[in-house]
Symmetry: C2
Subunit: 334 residues, 2 copies
């Protein structure tokens, strides 16, 4: 399951190991990514496995997976700290690390870290947002990516809206280097359950048989949400069926149309929320996989051309920043 | 599978058969209900089976199920017309009956009926709404219930908003006895797929283990949608998880809280749509199962106390009205 990705290889590993400042682990529900992180916050080597927290139970299982993923690095460089973020720190994870409270900066997150029982790794807390008469909101792992985005792009520190698209998209408001407030949107999971388990998916080709991205249908969904979203998402998504049944849209286009509708509704609500917070003139950054960020960028263009900065995986940079904030890696040593 | 319900029994059947004007069939995706309909549009006998259109394929299968459900009635009263509505008339049903176009009254629906190949039954078309720069919307079966509501309550004929809560809730605008416009909300199906297949269901007790209706949690969900629904449904539903994870709400309350949020969003959009159509001073009627209508009534009370008329199953009345409109049952014979 463990595979070397960019730019690791047998020859490069020795140099990367020598240059590394940190062993960083992004350990979510469905997978684990391990990084040798350099002084600039970039991954010198990256490895990925499917052994996410949802597949594991008990400290021994976690310790074994960590050893399998990064044990060779840990033995070669026992001086390097090992820092992990994500669902590994949940109540169902390796160590139950209490959430840090919003607003929070890197220092607050660093203060909340907990060490694993075997002492092998430090685990970063997730973030909890409460107040304003609203229900609480939660993240685990994305706080580290946000800190990484601020490390990588200093212009985001003063004020910014940082959007992390995904199964549970997160929208975060940043001011003065702190995450002030954030909101989850279940866009990716809604798409998956509607496609796999609802009447909407029945007319759609299987995902594996689906062709390439249907940009026209996707944008039609985005514009439908932008222009008529007040009619309600629960209403609008039914059109992914009615357009198919009436032959108004080819069935091969329905999945991307639905994706456009759901992402369009996320943007509709998220951009209003950003404007309410008076962040509509602050930078908007998208952090995530290039393909998904491209989809969001396209949708943002349809919303009055809102421009976005796009950052790929910022977890390594966040892990390094948090290791520095915790004092386990020195800031000025290079 | 066939069972007699209110008020049929062996003794009553002979009298009911003698008094019946029509054999009516409400034949949806997941079940079939057969009625002996009296001159007043009420069911004299009702039977139900789980042999919905989604479980059947081919004319012979439909003919056999109809015979099993109502063959004894058809043989005892070969003079009675047999009229069916619902997914039985879809392209995947017994006969593909083209949708009637909105606006439509009982006469337009009657004109669109098609006879089954064996001549046993007439099938009512569904309704298609198009125009206004919006995607099409569809119903099959609910048009008959709406016609039945107008038959049962004359005060709804001039103008009304008729809401049929369910897996795919329908909101219909009626003016001058015609269905002018309608909109589907996927509320019931969203609830089911989120509960069974998403992260939101994982903290909830199994449906079979769930206790009685938690009215407080339900109303909290409704009010959250009413007061903060602009933050987006895709955002708000995640609170059914965050409230549970943080212990702010007992896990036994989360399912009803989610139900309140989803129904609250349906009302938020539906009541705005009704006001846009200037029907906010016209009667609002709920048509459906008493338990589900009670849930909607409770939610409507939280939306500025909108009062609603509640009608139970109006399909028998609708089937009789449409049989009369088609001339297969005489209006003035009693």
């Amino acid at each position: 399951m463990v595979s070397a990705a960019t730019p690791g290889n047998a020859d490069g590993n020795a140099a990367a190991l020598a240059a590394a400042r940190l062993i960083g682990i992004d350990w979510g529900s469905t997978g684990l990514r391990a990084f040798l992180v350099g002084a600039d916050g970039l991954a010198l080597v990256e490895r990925a496995t499917a052994q996410g927290a949802a597949t594991l139970s008990g400290a021994a299982a976690y310790a074994a997976v960590l050893d399998q993923a990064a044990g060779d690095w840990m033995r070669a460089r026992p001086d390097l700290p090992v820092l992990a973020c994500g669902m590994v720190g949940s109540q169902y994870g390796w160590v139950d690390v209490p959430y840090a409270a919003c607003p929070a900066d890197a220092q607050a997150l660093a203060s909340g870290m907990r060490r694993t029982p075997d002492g092998a790794a430090l685990i970063i807390p997730g973030l909890l947002k409460e107040g304003g008469g609203l229900p609480p909101d939660l993240m685990r792992g994305e706080e580290t990516q946000i800190v990484g985005a601020l490390q990588r792009r200093a212009e985001l520190r003063e004020q910014a809206c940082i959007v992390l698209p995904g199964t549970h998209s997160k929208w975060a408001q940043v001011r003065g280097g702190r995450v002030e407030r954030f909101a989850t949107h279940m866009t990716g999971e809604l798409y998956a359950v509607l496609r796999q388990h609802s009447v909407l998916g029945r007319l759609m080709p299987e995902a594996k048989d689906a062709g390439s991205f249907d940009e026209e249908a996707y944008c039609e969904g985005v514009e439908m949400a932008r222009d008529a979203g007040h009619l309600g998402m629960s209403h609008q998504i039914f059109s992914a069926r009615s357009l198919g049944v009436t032959g108004r849209m080819p069935t091969s286009a329905l999945a991307d149309y639905l994706s456009g509708l759901l992402i369009g509704h996320e943007l509709r609500a998220g951009l209003d929320w950003r404007a309410e917070a008076k962040l509509d003139h602050a930078p908007l950054a998208l952090v995530g996989s290039p393909a998904l960020c491209a989809r969001y960028q396209l949708a943002l263009q349809r919303y009055s051309g809102v421009p976005a900065l796009v950052l790929d995986n910022t977890a390594p940079a966040g892990l390094l920043s948090l290791a520095q904030a915790a004092g386990v890696v020195k800031e000025n040593a290079a």
